[in-house]
Structures are given as C-alpha cells and as structure tokens.
C-alpha cells in the first residue's frame, strides 16, 4: 500500500511506533500485523463476536471497530498486557483449569471481558455474568464451563486467595 500514516500507540505500557500504515486499518489489524500482538483475534470484523476485545482507556471495546490512528494518546491494554508474561492471571488460570478453553479462539476476548466485569462487579450473579459476557461468542463450549470459571475466580477473590 502506498500509504504513509505514522503514529504512536500506547500499548501495554509502552509507546509503539506505527509506520507506513493505511489510514483505514483497525486497531485489531495494527496490533496483530504491525505490533506483533497476536493474542487479540478477529472472527467477524463487525463487533459481533468479542474475540478482539481490548481495553482502551479502561473501557472494554472491540478493537476491530477502533480506527487504529484514532487511538493515539489512549492507554491500550491487550491480552498480552493483562498479566506478566509467564504468569497467568487468576482468570486465565481458571479458564484453563475449569474447562472453559476448547479451541481457544474466543478465549482471549472472554478473558478481557471477564477481567473488566470483575473489576466493576467483583461478585456477579449468574445473570450479570451472562449479560456482561453476552458480546463474546463461543462456538465450542456452550458457555457452561466459562460461567463456572468466572464464578470460581469470584469466589477465590472473595476468599482472598
């Protein structure tokens, strides 16, 4: 592409330069293809699956619907930034442990949405979990083990573990 957008994004605590970008590139595309952050997944490019969920200035959004160049100056947190490398978060651990991961394609987006939920609502009801995660489509699990994993984390956090 003969395009020359140059800008910097603040991702997972560091400033990352983006060069020679096409103006229409989504944040999802830039994260994956230009910054090598492949954890955010694209499955619909319409905001209808949640696989690309990231935090932008602490708000959970679909990165496929964020124009990358419009996120300059905002704090972006991706799945790679949710916990230190090599040390999974309690949510990540619970998803793996309680059967919430099958093909795993929706998993990073669900993990991001779960962190966002538990920040706001530490002890969610079943319905609160379902509403908060209703923007994340999972085709493998039927959601039962995901809800279980979220509840396990909520209980663990309440127990101070």
């Amino acid at each position: 592409m003969g395009e020359n957008e140059i800008y910097e994004l603040h991702v997972n605590g560091s400033l990352r330069e983006v060069r020679d970008a096409w103006i229409g590139e989504s944040l999802l595309y830039v994260l994956r293809e230009r910054l090598g952050l492949l954890g955010s997944k694209g499955a619909c490019e319409q905001g209808e699956c949640g696989s690309c969920s990231v935090l932008v200035d602490d708000e959970l959004v679909c990165s496929c619907l964020v124009l990358a160049a419009s996120a300059v100056g905002q704090a972006i947190v991706t799945i790679e930034g949710i916990a230190p490398a090599g040390s999974p978060s309690d949510v990540q651990q619970a998803f793996a442990e309680y059967g919430a991961v099958q093909c795993g394609f929706c998993t990073p987006g669900l993990i991001m949405a779960t962190h966002a939920l538990l920040e706001r609502t530490p002890q969610p009801t079943d319905t609160e979990i379902r509403e908060a995660l209703s923007g994340n489509i999972c085709r493998c699990t039927g959601y039962g083990r995901i809800i279980d994993a979220v509840q396990q984390v909520a209980v663990s956090r309440a127990d101070g573990r």
């Binding site: 997944k41 696989s51 990540q92 493998c140």
Partner: protein
C-alpha cells in the same frame, strides 16, 4: 454436573480432567492459530468469487488488477498445473471456475499482494463478464429432471432406498408429517487461514493450515498442483474450531498456487463473509415420514422420503445421505421400513459435513413423529420412547445388528429423573434478561408459557460403507519421558490432553511430550464422525502398549523376570509375582523404545440396492429433555434448561466430555431457534455475524448432565466418543418443548417467531 469426577490414583491419568497442554497458552493469547502465522516477506492472498449462483463465464480480464501497485500474482483456472478439480468423495469441484459458476461465492481467481487492502482493490479491478443463467434452486427439480444438468455428473448426487420387512403393513395408528431444516453454518470462530511456504525452485510446498484431516488435504492438494504427495508437507496450524467445515479443502490449493507462482510465502485468511461462502454447510432437508404403530404404541413400520440439498458440488453428500436414511428409525425398534432418500445438486451453497452429519435431519423428523404417535396412542413422550427403545442385539432397518452397548432406556430414565429447573415460569423476579426477548424487555411474566419436550437419538461412530479410516500413532519412551507423534487434528476438542492421559496411564509416566501434528507420520483420519477418541485414542493406546511390552522385556531381561508378570503401578514397574518395584524412569535407563501403531476399526460394507448391509462401525445413544419459556404472542423463546443423559462408554476426561455435551447442545439450540443461512434464488442474504445469529451466553440455558458409563467392549478404551450426539436430539427436544408451550405444529427449524405467533 451430576456425575462426580472420579478420583484417579495419580492426576492426569484416564478418568481425570487435567489442564490441557494448550490451555494456558490459549488463555494468554500466545497459542498460534493458523491465522497468526506469518513469515518474512510473506504476501497476502485473496480470492475473487462469483456474485452469481449460475452463470457462464464469457471473459476474464485480469490486466486491470496488474495496474495496481503491490500486486504480485494473479491466478485463474488456466494456472492450475494438475487436476483442475478436487473433492472428498467425488472430484467434482473446480479449483477455479473456468467456464461456468455454479454457486454464489465460487472461486474464479486469486491474487497475491503486499497488503489485504491491495488484494481487495485488485479483486475489484478484475473484470469478469458473465452470462447469467437461471439457477436450479429447488431440490425437487433436480430429482424430477425438469432442470437440465448443471454439472457433468448430473443433478442427483445419490439416491438410496431402504426396503425392510413387510412393505404393505398398515398400523392401527398411523401418523404422518413433513419436516424441514434450514441451512446451518458451523460458524467456527477461527476463520479459514493458511501459510504456504514454497520450496526453492518450486519443487515442493509446505503448508500450515487449519484443517480436520491433513493427509486427505495433502492428497487433494498434490493432485491439483501436480506434485508427488511427499513434495507437499502439511503441518496443522492452530485450529479455531471446525465442526465439519474444514473437512473439505477451501483455500489450500489457492494459497499453494500463489506461493509457487511468486516463490514467496503467502498467507491467506478468509473474512467472515467469505467463510460463509467458502466452506460447506449442513444440508437443508425436507423429510416426509409416516409411522405405523399398534394401538398400544409399538412402532411397526416407517415410510420415509428424505431429500437433502447438496448444493453445487458433491462434497460428502453421499455419505451424509447414507447416514440420514439409515438413522430414520431413530433409537427405536422397527422391523419394517420403506425409505427413499436423495442427495441432489443445486445452485445453492455446497453442503457437506457438519456435526451430526445427516442424523440431525433424520432425528428432527423421527422425534416429531414419535411425539405425534404418543398423542395418537394416548401415551406420554417418555412412555412411548421407553416402549420402543432399542437394545443391544436389535436389528436396524438395514439389517445390521447393534452389537454395541445400547442403553437407550437407561438414558431416557436418567434424564427423566433429573430435576426440572427451579426457575419460575417467566424467570426470576428482576431478571428480565433471562425471559424470552431478553434485553428487549418485550415480555412480562404473565405473557409467558412453559413447555417441556423430549428428543432421543442414535448416532453412528466412525466412517461407514467399507471405508478404512484408520489412525496412526507413534510412541517413544526415553528416560521416563514419553513422546507422542500423530497427525490427529486438534481442532479444540482436546485430543492433545487425552493423548497425554493415555500415555500416562499405560506407561506410568508424568511427562508426555507431543510432537508437531503433521504429515511426517501416517494418517490419523479426519477429526470428525465422533471418531478420534476411538480411532486415534486406540492408536495412541496401541503404540503405548507396544512400548510398554518392550519396556517389560527390557526389565525382564535385566532382572530375569518373565515380562508377563510385570505391570505398571502408579509411576513404577512392579513384578506381580515377586518383589521388584522400580520407577519407570529407572526401568528405562539406558534404553529407548519406539513403536508405531495403526488402529483399524472392524470392516464395514456397502449397502445394497435395497439398503441392506452392515454399513456402520458402531453406535452411541443420547436423550435430551428441554424446558422452554415461550412468549406465544411474539413467538420468542428462551430455553430454560436442557437435561441430558449420554451413552459415553467411559468418560476418559469428564471435563472434556462435559464441554462437548454443552457445546453440542448450544449448536442444537442454535438450529432450533435462530441459526439459518438464508439463501434466496441462490444468493446468500446473511453472510455475517450481524445477521447469522449464534447463541450468546444469555441464550444458553443451564445444562444438567448424567453420563451413562458402560465401557464398550468394542471400543479400544471403552469410550465411545461424545462429540456429535449432543447436537442431534437437543434440537427436536427444544422444538417439542415449544410445541408443548404453544400447541403449534412446528415442523421447520429454525423455528421463527412468525411460525409461532402468526397464522
């Protein structure tokens, strides 16, 4: 989950539910899916597709695309060096359409360029002149011959009859119905993607791809590329679900062609819209059935006419039809049958494998019929099913005797004893989100009616009709660490963790290394047909057992003990007749063992012209009970609970079994109330997740489960495989529950709101 996880002596063995080896990586986003793969200097590939369902290609002019900066290659049918067509059963599908297009979305050309947006502009620049033809979209016109052949192979892909027993029997009670199913999409989340790496000089190609069957892909790709199979090397790229849609090849040949043409790595990745057009779907079907029974409700005879719309190319339609016609009796004893089935070719989207594979279509119809029969005989849905429940030793309408464990009645009774939901009709106070209509706040509790419905199914396991879908595995044991090698496609189901569990159990090791999943070992067959636990599980088990024999020989020679008396106990090798106990690590010191094993299931045979023959390998059974809340006036449905009991043989990993059951039910729910690819005059109207609706967390109910565990002596590990049954009878159970709540005679899925509330 009502069945408690069993304790095993050591964690991570069979019967336990250890963390899958890819679990943490997937949760951290570091697991590499096929769409995450790239290489230095990689180009992007993209496909030009037909906007017409049926047209003659008058002219293709690619030259305007060459004017676009960044375009590196353009290929069309003229550039396919080998066989111009491919296909799983019959090679009838062109790599690129050359003279005619037969469905909306059929590939015509592919481009390689430096950026996806460049690709998009190049595709728009290619000029294709079409002479648009009237599409064949009505399956009946393919059967009656009123439309000229749309393919040299003709418009009927397969016609199969089953003639069993008394052809003139008329029951005391006769019920009849016609049932229809819309086109369902597998809708895996990880879109089709591949990375093709050409060998220097184009002598061969390496392909990383998300697929269900590496060796079958390789066979078809090599033929189209005119390369020897060993020059085409496939490695599984991380697979984001499959559910049948990756059994046929999609972008594989295109990516390889572009890579060979440019001499550079090429990445291809479908968009969601393209994915809807680019893979096969569940066959839309129309099924007429007439059931004959005694006044007491004993099923005596079925008459069936079943038509599957195969779309433009054959794919696995003939096998799907076989499954459909041979499962029309359901899990019920029935001696007499007259079944007439067709899989036909039309200009609709090609259809092939999807979880349930023909049995979904048959089951929706036979369960509707059984409920009608119950009403006609004054029985309740449970009574009539128990009355007719199949058992081991019964014959199918094909004459095949069921030799497997067949706990149909036990499944039904187990479900009947599961508690009904404690949620009041219309949902709990203050939780309108979980009412019919959900967030839309359409209903108050007084508007809502509850219904309960049943579905029970039989499903064949593995491939049929003489196909030897064997699986290969290799086990290596060094210093107490086992390594496993197989080509079994891990698509999300968790074979990777099962393989480790098998090796730990057989060899008494803790560490099990999994080698890359690729074509450098023999075929594992397809990850489909509920077959990998049985087939590849059997292969891994067999390889590990051979290694264990070698280990025992080694230990026996060293300690002068008859190897027959040696056994694995925990992490140790023990002499069952003496006192020796040494760790496996110690036992294999200084030695290396490596064995390869092929697991074959017992042979099957073709059906004859009357549909008789031992065509299937094995069977599993399942029962579902659905509870729904319906807003009859708006036609909106909320499934409140699904209860199920499934004949699993043996739960080798209870958490994985649970995941398969809940996930399968979610897909059954989708087909029952929301999922359909809408095709009008051959044009797809809803190729996006905005308009092809999948169940969300607010649509999925609680699932309560009883696992029926009777280890099957025919299965290598006693385990039957669990993937497909949950999808099959959950759909009719939900529809029956909606019928119960509304009194409407619903005969089509997905049930649309207007089907419930309009005349």
């Amino acid at each position: 989950m009502s069945t408690a996880t069993r304790e095993s002596v050591l964690s991570g063995r069979l019967g336990d539910s250890p963390i899958r080896p890819d679990g943490i990586a997937k949760a951290q986003g570091s697991f590499a899916f096929s769409g995450d793969l790239s290489a230095d200097g990689a180009l992007w590939g993209a496909t030009l597709r037909s906007p017409h369902a049926s047209a003659r290609i008058v002219r293709i002019d690619v030259s305007p695309a060459w004017q676009i900066d960044g375009v590196t290659a353009i290929v069309t049918a003229d550039d396919v060096p080998g066989k111009p067509t491919y296909g799983l059963i019959s090679s009838d599908q062109p790599v690129f359409a050359a003279d005619v297009v037969r469905y909306t979305g059929e590939p015509i050309a592919a481009v390689a360029a430096d950026h996806p947006e460049t690709c998009r502009r190049a595709l728009e620049a290619i000029v294709v002149e079409y002479e648009v033809l009237a599409p064949l979209t009505e399956p009946e016109r393919a059967i009656d011959g009123s439309h000229p052949p749309i393919h040299p192979d003709g418009n009927v892909i397969r016609h199969q009859r089953i003639i069993a027993g008394d052809q003139s029997l008329v029951g005391d009670v006769v019920v009849e119905g016609t049932y229809e199913l819309g086109m369902q999409d597998q809708a895996f989340l990880g879109l089709e993607a591949a990375l093709a790496l050409p060998d220097p000089g184009g002598a061969g190609i390496e392909l990383f791809v998300a697929t269900q069957w590496l060796h079958e892909d390789r066979k078809q790709i090599a033929a189209c590329l005119d390369l020897a199979p060993d020059k085409v090397r496939l490695t599984l790229g991380g697979v984001g679900g499959s559910f049948g849609a990756r059994e046929d090849i999609s972008l594989q040949v295109h990516a390889c062609l572009l890579a060979l043409r440019t001499g550079r790595p090429v990445r291809m990745a479908y968009s969601r819209e393209e994915s809807f057009l680019g893979h096969v779907h569940r066959h839309p079907a129309k099924v007429w059935m007439r059931h004959h029974a005694t006044a007491g409700g004993v099923l005596q005879r079925i008459e069936v006419r079943l038509v599957l719309d195969g779309g433009a190319y054959a794919s696995t339609s003939s096998a799907v039809l076989l499954n459909a016609v041979t499962h029309t009796q359901g899990p019920y004893k029935c001696a007499n049958a007259t079944v007439d089935g067709y899989a036909v070719r039309t200009n609709n989207l090609p259809c092939g494998a999807m979880r349930g594979f023909g049995v979904v279509q048959a089951c929706f119809a036979h369960e509707g019929q059984i409920d009608k029969l119950a009403v006609a005989c004054g029985l309740d849905p449970v009574e009539i099913r128990l009355l007719n429940a199949m058992e081991t030793g019964d014959s199918l309408i094909t004459g095949q005797v069921i030799e497997n464990v067949a706990p149909v009645a036990e499944c039904i009774r187990a479900v009947a004893s599961l508690p009904l939901p404690d949620v009041p009709v219309g949902g709990r106070d203050g939780e309108p989100m979980q009412r019919p209509g959900g967030a839309g706040l359409t209903a108050d509790p007084s508007h809502i009616r509850r219904g309960i419905g049943w579905g029970v199914a039989i499903k064949n396991l593995m491939y049929s009709e003489g196909f030897d879908d064997y699986s290969t595995a290799r086990c290596r044991l060094v210093d107490g660490v086992a390594s496993l090698k197989f080509a079994t496609c891990e698509v999300g189901q968790g074979f990777v963790v099962l393989a480790q569990q098998i090796a730990r159990s057989v060899l008494g090791v803790d560490d099990v290394v999994l080698e890359p999943i690729d074509t450098s070992i023999g075929s594992a067959g397809s990850t489909s047909a509920t077959r990998q636990t049985w087939m590849s599980g059997g292969a891994v088990d067999g390889a590990c057992r051979l290694v264990r024999e070698r280990l025992f020989e080694h230990v026996g020679a060293r300690y002068d003990i008859d190897p027959v008396s040696l056994a694995i106990d925990g992490r140790d090798v023990v002499d069952t007749t003496g006192t020796l106990r040494i760790s496996v690590t110690e036992a294999c010191a200084g030695a290396e063992f490596e064995e390869t094993f092929e697991h074959h299931h017992r042979p099957t045979e073709d059906l004859d012209e009357n549909g008789q023959g031992n065509c299937h390998t094995a069977f599993a059974f399942v029962a579902h009970r659905a509870v729904v809340d319906v807003d009859p006036e708006l036609g909106l449905v909320k499934v409140v609970q699904v209860a199920t009991a499934q004949d699993v043989g043996r739960a080798l990993n209870p958490l994985s079994v649970m995941g398969q059951i809940e996930g399968g039910i979610a897909q059954g729910l989708g087909l029952a109330v929301m999922e359909e690819i809408i095709v009008t005059d051959g044009l797809v109207r809803n190729a996006s997740f905005t308009d092809y609706l999948l169940p969300t967390m607010l649509d999925m109910p609680h699932v309560v489960v009883t696992l029926i565990e009777h280890p099957d002596p025919m299965a290598p590990l006693g385990a039957k495989g669990v993937g497909e049954p949950p999808t099959i009878s959950s759909t009719p159970a939900i529809v029956a529950a909606i019928r119960d709540a509304t009194g409407r005679d619903l005969s089509r899925v997905p049930v649309r709101p207007s089907d419930i509330c309009l005349p």
